[in-house]
Symmetry: C2
Subunit: 402 residues, 2 copies
């Protein structure tokens, strides 16, 4: 009845055009401004950062989405400057970006979402930004997401994108997405920047449900450094050129699963490209009293500097892992703990650590592995993706602003 | 009526003897085992880690304190091995340490507190430990806290101690303390290791109140890496050789203030000697709705890897500071924020950052400075001490266990 094929050929779904230019906002000789434009009004949903120091483009996009969730037309994003903590002028600048895009593509300003990423607390160089927007039109194309994915990078070392083709009973659907990391990554009910597009025909309310569900297990389940950004935003536009999806149809479940796969893939790319990261860590806690406890423990392990540095040093220092779980607030009895690196049992009840150091070292030398901690007999489970903590993280962040 | 003089001459208060030996538990050629013994039964109070993975010596000391809070006689502590996550054998080993000390000094085992610090998840080399305890007696002396302070060090780079002489209306009192850091430092309602001694005559319940009050503003207000240890413990013994302090007397307030000063001094030493630290950061949040909000914001700023790396790089990246406050859960309106480095105003309402980069750089180049963030007009205030995050932290913790 339905089949999905993953790919990285990177076409946009039907009904979308994207372009990117170099506006020299902070970086030289690389694209730093992109726009995604729909052929006709699209439905849209988005999630935004819960940081109280919310950036101007987020405030503006929230208002525009409220106004135009059934008739969105474009998204514009710059990198190199977050337009955050910029006060009234920052809000005026975000509005000017929406207006310029609207002029350029004959839209209404409130049909345009705006996003920014980069350093906090500096005003946008608006002349460069507006010049850039006025040069976007000739770059617009349908055949590749690569340019747009590259233009939103900051300290990212590679562009992040993914597309999925989905065969539903009602017809075919394509989902494409681009994302960026790679510091200030600990999304809280929202995300860093990820812009998703589909040609599915779907109501905004249903699109929002699908986005929120998938977000919980993808972008909200990653951490690089425990810092939630001021500019987090994930949006999805549906052009309505493809199959129609309703809440009653099993196609909705399949669409949700595909969105889940798309967002989880992009989320993992963000962790793999975390600042200074050399390893992807999948941390699963099982047997917790409930999901909340499992997530607390998994998240605390994932964010522990001592765990992250030990794993960077490829040291099977399992004591730091259970110590992190122990301070997380999750309820358990340490005598019942069971710990695995991949399939290798490191710790068994009651606190017996009997494992081959050689086998453990072999696993820790890999670029990616799983850490599974069983707390007890409860039904609670959660998985968080994280990365190691290296000297390069210090290098990058001791000199980012200047 | 009362005067206090600080000093570092390091005598123990009347009624105490301490000694230290090299037991070769993990380190060679340095003392790694110490005991503090009272001439006669002393009153005692202690606070312990809230980590669920609690180490065996903590479990044992909790029981012994419950039994002997009016008649404590000794404390024994080893470094190089935490005796944590060691199951039943670990508890037997901690008990054997108390028994050996009791035999050596003709005490009852339950009059002895036991502490351990070092790597988690390895059994203590009990032959070496017991040999060490049997060599302690000839080293016992009254004139210096230095040997004991040195013997409890792990990755600490210097021994931490302080003494205060206090003239009260009822007579004079001396307070001395030793402490150790310097990783896994984010005490939670307790602390790392700190052993305090006074010759005051004071009831255990009152001593506990004084300890808990001072702890809130000292050891519980510091963080190095956000990791709460399995072995945190702070204890105080009162020998009763000096002035008598009762709850009704103003002397109690003066005693509390002195204990506060002693513990805050030791707490700051721990941060200064935090793993890889080069700067002491005093982070104060004012104008919060209540104390809880102020502490949330101050603690989140203090633990933010992005803030800590920026300050390590001496970069006035104030955006990261307000972004950390923004994700802390504290309630505020970003338009009202006001930020200072020492006395230099960095940010004023509404989000206006108008300061001399040169003046800011001069402050950030110092070994210690204050960061003060005003959230609004509320009465809530809190101060947390933290340190920067350097490549040396990664170096130390990527290879600690092996």
């Amino acid at each position: 009845m339905a089949s999905a094929s993953d790919g990285s050929n990177g076409f946009w779904p039907q009904g979308f055009l994207a372009g990117a230019v170099s506006a020299n906002i902070k970086y030289s000789n690389r694209n730093d401004l992109m726009a995604l434009v729909t052929d006709e009004p699209a439905t849209a949903a988005a999630l935004f950062t819960l940081n109280r120091c919310v950036a101007a483009p987020i405030t503006l996009s929230q208002r525009h989405l409220q106004h135009s969730s059934s008739s969105i037309r474009a998204l514009v994003c710059n990198s190199g400057n977050a337009n955050a903590a910029t006060g009234t002028q920052g809000l005026d600048d975000a509005r000017a970006m929406a207006e310029a895009v609207a002029r350029e593509f004959s839209l209404k300003p409130e049909e345009v979402l705006v996003a920014s990423t980069g350093v906090i607390g500096q005003l946008l160089p608006m002349e460069k930004v507006l010049d850039g927007i006025s040069s976007l039109a000739p770059t617009m194309q349908r055949h590749s997401v690569l340019d747009a994915a590259s233009a939103i990078m900051t300290t990212d070392t590679f562009p992040k994108f993914y597309t999925i083709e989905l065969q539903l009973s009602a017809g075919s659907v394509r989902l494409s997405g681009i994302a960026k990391g790679s510091g200030m990554i600990c999304p809280n009910m929202a995300t860093m920047l990820a812009f998703l597009a589909t040609d599915a025909t779907i109501e905004p309310a249903l699109l929002h449900i699908a986005l929120e569900r998938a977000n919980r297990k993808s972008f909200n389940a990653i951490t690089v450094d425990g810092d939630t950004s001021t500019n987090d935003m994930v949006s999805i536009f549906a052009s309505g050129k493809g199959a129609k999806i309703t809440g009653e149809s099993p196609d909705f479940i399949l669409f949700c699963d595909a969105l889940d796969a798309l967002m989880t893939f992009l989320a993992k790319l963000i962790v793999i490209d975390g600042e200074g990261a050399t390893k992807l860590l999948e941390i699963t806690v099982t047997g917790a009293a409930d999901h909340r406890d499992a997530e607390l423990a998994a998240r605390t392990i994932a964010q522990s500097s001592l765990v992250k540095t030990a794993l960077h040093g490829e040291d099977a220092n399992w004591g730091r892992i259970i110590a992190a779980a122990g301070r997380s607030g999750a309820v358990f009895n340490q005598e019942e703990l069971e710990l695995y690196f991949n399939d290798l049992r490191i710790l068994q009840p009651p606190l017996v650590a009997d494992f081959s150091e050689e086998a453990a070292s072999e696993i820790l030398a890999k670029d990616a592995f799983t850490i599974t901690l069983r707390l007890g007999n409860g039904p609670g489970e959660a998985t968080i993706w994280s990365c190691d903590l290296s000297k390069e993280y210090i290098e990058i962040n001791g000199s980012y602003r200047s």
